[in-house]
């Protein structure tokens, strides 16, 4: 089955919004063996939308439509659907009632403008959107499927993964396909590829490998499909185990696991608690750790010591240390790490201090210089990384590197 995406919205064409939805769709459909062969973005204009629907449906059996919904745009897209599917609008009572109840619960008045939103194409099958008010809509025409979703990314992802993909599976769409992904941190793509070259040699005839790098991490994904799938999978799993063993210094999990989630599981398993002391990351590491449901079981808390004064007062970093070595130094992160242990009375603590930029760099310590320490009350490890010039990227990179230091410390010491 071939699929195509139609994204509707002036905001994408004028570059105000980056189309992240298409990548999310591509990734998710790819997992069930449905290939996206085209992505088309058009303006919020009826004629353009209809032409787009025509064009994409010519080459695809499944058309995913995002955007063009919401109170102020609705009308254009809906009327394009009406024309294209030779349909009419009717008041969708059940959809309206659901949203009315939702609004009542939240003490929001439902207005005439809201009511208008529920005049919807009569041929649409509706799919519950638990993240918002606009439902997913499925149309069938000439044996092809059309699925319309709002453009708000989390609403779109919800409808895609919770509604459309289960439906496709139920209708027997998608080849059998099998992925297994090894998650690594702290080693670059080229270096990883070199380390495992001999394991892969001659093995990539019936399954394939892809390296998916992002900031500080690389996912290695093996994919099997086609006939004799079960024997291919068993050969692939064998290779996967070899990769896992070879790369054990760098792996933190499989498939959908996250680095903070992996660390959380280790902390629970080993009955350890954690406190953190952040400076340049400004709360980002706390956010990563607490993004894991249930993290309160091991995460006691954190301090964002953004000033010299707070480093001294909350974490007991010595004035001398700050004066002599600066806030971005090995000495300071060691004292921050110890200070956090004393403050939070946790088994472990993690500290980070650096120059996120764009200002504040010196020839000795350029923008992107980041020190970090991880330890318990008796011992610690430190690490220095040099990131780039982009403030946000530096914070993200420091977060991944600091979590990796924590992962390594737990592995080595406990």
């Amino acid at each position: 089955m071939k699929a195509g995406i139609l994204t509707i919205g002036d905001e994408i064409l004028i570059g105000q919004t980056i189309d992240t939805n298409s990548a999310v769709i591509g990734k998710n459909l790819n997992k069930i063996g449905v290939d996206i062969n085209q992505i088309l973005s058009v303006a919020d204009q009826k004629k353009e939308i209809i032409e787009g629907l025509n064009y994409i449906s010519r080459g695809s059996d499944l058309v995913l439509i995002t955007g063009g919904l919401g109170p102020t745009k609705d009308d254009i897209t809906k009327h394009a659907f009406i024309d294209f599917f030779e349909d009419k609008l009717i008041f969708a009572e059940a959809q309206y009632d659901r949203v009315k109840q939702l609004f009542n619960k939240r003490n929001i008045n439902i207005t005439t403008a809201h009511e208008e939103q529920f005049f919807l194409p009569s041929k649409a099958e509706f799919f519950l959107n638990e993240m918002g008010t606009a439902p997913g809509m499925l149309f069938r025409k000439d044996g092809k499927l059309f699925f319309s979703m709002p453009g708000v990314p989390y609403e779109m992802e919800h409808l895609l993964t919770q509604r459309l993909i289960p439906l496709l599976r139920k209708e027997g769409i998608g080849n059998e396909i099998y992925h297994k992904t090894l998650l690594t941190v702290g080693c670059g793509e080229t270096a990883l590829a070199e380390k495992i070259e001999d394991i892969l040699r001659g093995k990539l005839e019936d399954f394939s490998i892809a390296y998916l790098p992002s900031l500080g991490t690389v996912k290695i994904r093996l994919t099997a499909k086609g006939v004799n799938l079960s024997s291919t999978i068993s050969r692939m799993n064998d290779v996967f185990s070899q990769l896992e063993e070879r790369l054990s210094d760098f792996t933190y999990g499989e498939d959908e696991e996250s680095l903070p989630g992996h660390i959380g599981n280790s902390l629970i398993e080993k009955k350890l608690t954690l406190g953190i002391a952040e400076s340049c990351t400004g709360g980002h590491i706390g956010h990563l750790i607490t993004s894991v449901p249930g993290s309160s079981a091991y995460f006691e808390g954190g301090v964002i010591s953004y000033s010299y004064a707070q480093k001294r007062e909350l974490l007991n970093v010595k004035s001398d240390t700050l004066i002599n070595t600066g806030a971005v130094s090995e000495e300071t992160v060691i004292e921050m790490q110890k200070g956090a242990i004393n403050l939070f009375k946790t088994d472990l603590s993690l500290s980070v201090s650096g120059i996120a930029g764009p200002g504040g760099g010196t020839p000795d310590k350029p923008v992107g210089t980041i020190w970090m320490a991880c330890g318990n009350k008796d011992e610690y490890r430190t690490k220095k990384v040099i990131a780039g010039k982009d403030r946000l990227k530096n914070m993200e990179y420091a977060g991944v590197q600091a979590l990796n230091l924590l992962r390594q410390f737990i592995n080595e010491v406990y």
Copy 2:
């Protein structure tokens, strides 16, 4: 003039790469009044590329092509060009010499694989790429322009802004266009549209309006173009001022400003300092605040008091309060707010405590219940919001709402 974009590359279709190039092109061409009316992404396959060129050039006078170049893909795209432009490949001596010199300077050996890259379409006009080896290529066909650029974002942007746009201007292409965007927070799209309906009535004939919502915020963008632009702009600016006044409770800036950036500017202007006490947001609010370069001028620090113990010990929240009203309560966030003022000795503090989910909800306090307080040493405001069920979205939503409470407190009190 209408323009369209064709992006070539499997990596976009399978969701491995997010297409950021199209947004950069859209923004830059929009500034000179060239509208992008379509963006199409196709696979690295000759047939798909040719079909894509046909489709995009049907509705556009200018076609921007990105990607599909580089040592491993080159051949496919070049042969698609040859077919589409009825051309042939010739060895592009001058291009080759330039890269050879470059490689010599860097002590890199030029190989046969490199040489192959310089068999290029004979009808192309070449444009120097100072950021890489593949030149920009311009083709003319049936009065339309086709400009091909590599997909590497900084090479693409370089060729676009330094080569193509100057060329378009020289050829007298592009109208003038003018955008002005009002940034709002704390009011939904529908409610905003109703509040300003009377101001806009009859005014949208010579300029247009677009609502661009995301989690908790809505951007309202006005756009003027066409003849008599300066008088349209002056009418549009007049309406913009009226919108700004009408929506003053909700606006935090114009154009590219961010909410944390806006708050930062207010704090600097009013010489105020800030400390924060987070619970359910786990550091996310600190991260938002410190995402602004120079935030150390007003941000003293934060506490992530993730446990009862830390709420008591760092922030002096009373045990009685925690026992009687729970950690997610108005009383607790008020005490956290006061505790943060005492701890950080700042002018202002902001506190948040809630149930991010997915666990931890009760009938009284369902998942998504979030309390927040903002104040100085003498007074405070509190707010309760009910977000949804998604942990990360709840954290993000709480962040936007808390920053909005801070914005309102500053506006009302200082």
